[in-house]
């Protein structure tokens, strides 16, 4: 009897595993996306930010970014001169600080800032925050094609978005595009991602955010990304933010 039970359990277990691998849930796919997005222990890179207005006028900004794990990120503008030195530190538990060189001290950011556009770009502070998608959104698988999974993401907490439709690469699990809907269920923004393999990691070499209402777009190009440099947690402190 004991032997029979063990065999049955083994069969059920193997069936279960086989079933999970065959038809993943939205949550599982989203967690895999987070694993791709935050797979490296740490990252340091330069960013080129190109903001294009509806009329085609372009502004170029540059920044540096370092990131560790899933929730620590330090972003600092290096140009233009009017914004150089402005830095943002994103920490676990929704904590964000901004450093304005003119004031010489850091300032904790009110969470209401998250819905605002980040430094004149088409990205919001919320978009710029280092936080796994699966922490912020519930996921539902709504479509599976030969190449993509399509997830509907709904925010777990109060958000400017009512939902996000995310198209995810079926084998590599990196995002291909995301469509953002406001509380009136109107599509307001679109993001297109370009990923390239850098070493063993899939790296987002370019992210383009389109603001459908304004007709503007912002491209963030990641230059010379370096992974697993052994960044210490001390790099993500107020001490480093203000220096």
């Amino acid at each position: 009897m004991k032997k029979l039970t063990a065999i049955l359990l083994a069969i059920l277990f193997s069936l279960g595993l086989g079933y999970q691998g065959y038809a993943q849930t939205g949550t599982e796919i989203l967690k895999k996306l987070d694993q791709v997005m935050f797979s490296a222990k740490d990252l340091s890179a330069k960013n080129k930010i190109i903001i294009t207005s509806k009329s085609g006028k372009q502004e170029v900004r540059e920044s540096t970014v370092i990131q560790k794990g899933q929730e620590m990120r330090l972003f600092r503008f290096t140009s233009p001169a009017s914004q150089a030195g402005i830095a943002m530190l994103s920490l676990p538990n929704d904590v964000m600080y901004i450093y304005m060189p003119a004031f010489g001290k850091e300032r904790r950011i009110a969470s209401s800032v998250k819905t605002q556009k980040f430094a004149g770009t088409d990205f919001s502070y919320d978009d710029m925050q280092a936080q796994p998608f699966s922490d912020k959104y519930n996921a539902k698988l709504i479509e599976t094609t030969d190449k993509h999974y399509v997830l509907e993401l709904t925010p777990k907490a109060k958000s400017e978005y009512s939902k996000i439709i995310a198209k995810i690469h079926k084998t590599e699990y990196y995002p291909i595009s995301t469509d953002f809907y406001n509380q009136k269920n109107e599509k307001i923004k679109e993001t297109a991602y370009t990923f390239e393999k850098v070493g063993k990691y899939w790296s987002p070499t370019e992210i383009i955010m389109f603001d459908l209402k304004k007709g503007s777009k912002t491209q963030i190009q990641m230059i010379q990304p370096k992974y697993d440099q052994g960044l210490s947690d001390d790099e993500f402190t107020i001490r480093k933010l203000i220096n």
Binding site: R61, A110, T237, R239
Partner: protein
């Protein structure tokens, strides 16, 4: 002491500067102009400032060098007498200020200990611009509308970062640097007024008071030191601090009035000698900032305990010199009665980019003693348009209450709407209007005749 300070600075620079990896020297800053013209009185152009704000920075692997220099053409030409035409300083007023010049060594002697030595701005507190706990650097009150501006101090500043989110800071400033008072037409904003006592014999005839002779007593002990513990507990950023130093704004300690009779025409001529003195304080500070329901909240309080009693002596000499002068001696600040200045503030970001900020401050920078502290309410709402290219601030100003009991005769209102246009990211052009109305004593009541248009332009490089 000054010599020792600079020798030790150079020595440290030499010792720690050599071994470090160097990066390129960064030169950046801004060129700006600030022009103001009054609409209320005949003063016309009252503010002319063209400023080259130059910053030099060189980072090394364990620290940095930083300097900030202002080269300015500041002030309107003065040429009301022949002599001024021979003086470039008067017809073309120019000055250079070394605002900051320091070097920093990270992990100095031990890990997590940072040393910063030289002229530096050490900003304490969490509030916006007006910080009751920010008392290390001398106030720079030259521009009365640039609230909270301070000059750098020649200081030794050590910060030790503890495990977690805590740090301890110790600062020593060897020399006293007084605050600079408001400039130009704002010079009278902080000047105390003095009434001739009602029972004075001087009131019997016409009185002409001459420009007072002002004498300043230097502080007995020059240096300032302070400590600060800073940390985060359960999403609340906070700090507690202690400072023992000299207040940069002097206190009026003695007035001596000496009348003499002018025979023809018949009036009393009064010479006035005024004594100003600097005093030390113990200042215990606490501040916090946090985030509740999307709103930012912050607050600061400074408990100020004078190091000694501060008294005001008024000597009224008599017209007839054989009669003894009338002397009154009153206690202005009791060393055993500390007083508290505080500020509370909140801000909110609207989804369409708007930003609102409100602060309630009890006690302005120059106010002292519990009964002398006034209430200041500051409100600002800013809305950017066209991706930040245009920024409109329709609500900006303050409401000041000098006496809650007699509000209609003791208040001031300041309204400063502003519009900024950035034709390119590096350039900002700002147009604003400053309107003031007030009754009773108070800094903005004192300058309410100077409503003004302000035009500013800034190029950052």
């Amino acid at each position: 002491m000054k010599k020792w300070f600079f020798i030790s600075s150079l020595l440290l620079l030499f010792l720690f500067g050599r071994a470090q990896e160097e990066s390129a020297l960064k030169i950046y800053g801004a060129l700006s102009t600030d022009q103001r013209v009054t609409t209320s009185v005949d003063s016309g152009w009252i503010w002319n400032e063209t400023r080259l704000d130059l910053k030099l920075e060189k980072k090394v692997n364990r620290g940095k060098f930083y300097a900030n220099l202002w080269a300015r053409n500041f002030g309107v030409p003065k040429y009301n007498e022949m002599g001024s035409l021979f003086s470039t300083e008067k017809i073309d007023p120019f000055n250079i200020q070394l605002r900051e010049a320091y070097f920093q060594v990270d992990d100095f002697l031990v890990e997590n200990l940072d040393l910063k030595i030289g002229r530096q701005r050490i900003a304490w507190g969490t509030a916006d611009k007006m910080n009751p706990t920010d008392n290390l650097n001398p106030l720079d009150m030259e521009d009365i509308f640039d609230l909270g501006r301070r000059r750098g101090s020649d200081a030794i500043n050590l910060t030790y970062y503890l495990k977690g989110d805590f740090s301890i800071q110790g600062v020593w400033i060897p020399f006293f640097q007084p605050a600079n008072l408001p400039a130009g037409v704002f010079a009278g904003a902080l000047m105390p007024s003095f009434d001739i006592p009602e029972d004075s014999t001087m009131n019997l005839m016409e009185v002409r008071i001459n420009q007072p002779n002002i004498h300043i007593n230097k502080p007995k002990l020059q240096s300032t030191f302070g400590f600060r513990l800073k940390g985060i507990i359960k999403s609340v950023d906070f700090s507690v601090s202690y400072l023992y130093g000299v207040n940069g704004i002097p206190e009026l300690t003695e007035i001596e009035a000496t009348p003499s009779v002018n025979i023809y025409p018949w009036y009393v001529n009064v010479d006035v000698d005024v004594q100003l003195s600097y005093f030390r304080n113990h200042i215990f500070g606490i501040d916090f900032s946090t985030n509740i329901f999307g709103l930012g909240f912050w607050g600061e309080a400074a408990i100020i305990k004078p190091d000694e009693d501060i008294r005001l002596k008024i000597i009224e000499n008599q017209i007839v010199s054989t009669i003894d002068p009338t002397i009154t001696d009153s206690l202005i600040l009791d060393k055993d009665k500390p007083y508290v200045k505080w500020i509370l503030g909140t801000d909110y970001h609207f989804s369409r980019g708007g930003y609102i900020n409100f602060q309630w401050m009890h006690g302005f920078f120059h106010e002292r003693g519990q009964s002398e502290l006034n209430d200041y309410f500051f409100l600002q709402f800013n809305q950017p348009f066209f991706n930040g290219q245009l920024s409109v601030t329709p609500l900006s100003g303050s409401f000041i209450i000098n006496s809650w009991k007699e509000l209609k005769d003791n208040y001031a209102l300041v309204y400063m709407p502003e519009i900024t246009y950035n034709p390119i990211p590096e350039v900002g052009i700002t147009l604003s209007y400053i309107w003031m109305k007030g009754k009773g004593a108070g800094i903005f009541s004192a300058i309410q005749d100077y409503d003004m248009f302000v035009i500013k332009a800034k190029y950052s490089f």
